[in-house]
Symmetry: C2
Subunit: 163 residues, 2 copies
């Protein structure tokens, strides 16, 4: 059952403004605002076009948007099953402490199970101790011993052309 005044719903194209605002607020909290280059048009095209690249759930509290979760499906070759990867989880600072973040995570776990996913994962900044405590209290385990490598921008173009 939802907490009083709390409602989760699938985002629609009408929500792109809200989603971009939340993305910017999250980036500010993560001290990564300089990395935000997306705009409403790009969000509309990639999330609500012909081939949506990710899915978004909006949390409403007292009838107004309070936070969001954006996720996509990963894949585990060891399990031979898809996974669910949570790219962003965000709750407005003034609305924290109402269980909104936990509610979003529970809903995503439900979706993962409904869709036959073997795992549910997300990345956390190592300095974000309150988030780490919150996730560990829910039973999440850190994947120690792995590092993500990335190619982007000019390096990506160069790699593509080096064939």
């Amino acid at each position: 059952m939802n907490a009083p005044g709390l409602n989760l719903r699938i985002a629609t194209v009408e929500d792109v403004g809200t989603i971009l605002t939340f993305i910017k607020e999250l980036a500010e909290y993560e001290k990564l605002s300089h990395q935000v280059v997306g705009d409403e048009e790009q969000l509309r095209k990639t999330l609500f076009g012909d081939r949506p690249a990710a899915e978004v759930i909006i949390a409403e509290f007292g009838g107004a948007p309070a936070g969001f979760a954006l996720f996509f499906h990963s894949y585990s070759t060891f399990l031979a099953r898809p996974g669910l990867y949570l790219e962003d989880l965000y709750v407005s600072p003034k609305l924290r402490g109402h269980g909104i973040g936990k509610k979003l995570l529970c809903r995503l776990a439900e979706i993962a199970i409904e869709r036959g996913c073997g795992r549910f994962e997300w990345s956390v900044l190592d300095w974000n101790e309150s988030a780490i405590r919150f996730y560990e209290n829910l039973g999440a385990e850190p994947m120690e011993g792995w590092t993500v490598y990335r190619v982007a921008g000019d390096t990506l173009e160069k790699l593509a052309k080096s064939e």
Copy 2:
């Protein structure tokens, strides 16, 4: 142009046996064989069914399968664009040194650009120094400061039910 004798092609359902063999060989190399629980039927269903959860490229060398790459699409909210995530890259040990791994990475970079992806990422085991050198020589950068958290098995069921 492909190196002599080297050919890359999209995997079909006929390749599930080869793919499973490669997954098991990769797991053995990673000292993670105990985590492999998938089988051919699960691979067939999740990779070649109605809703393929990932894509696979097979590398052939001298006409026989030599390795594979399995990937799916991620999403970056900061870029408001999809990304390409390489889950597994594997080349048979006896066929290393022919540029097959690099060829697979170049092809994936090409696909990433064709599909409008802003980044191309994968995870590496921290002890795998030869892989790290290989990736860094291609310009890949480690994403320091982030840790992946995971919920799976009973913990995932419990989280889904705690709503």
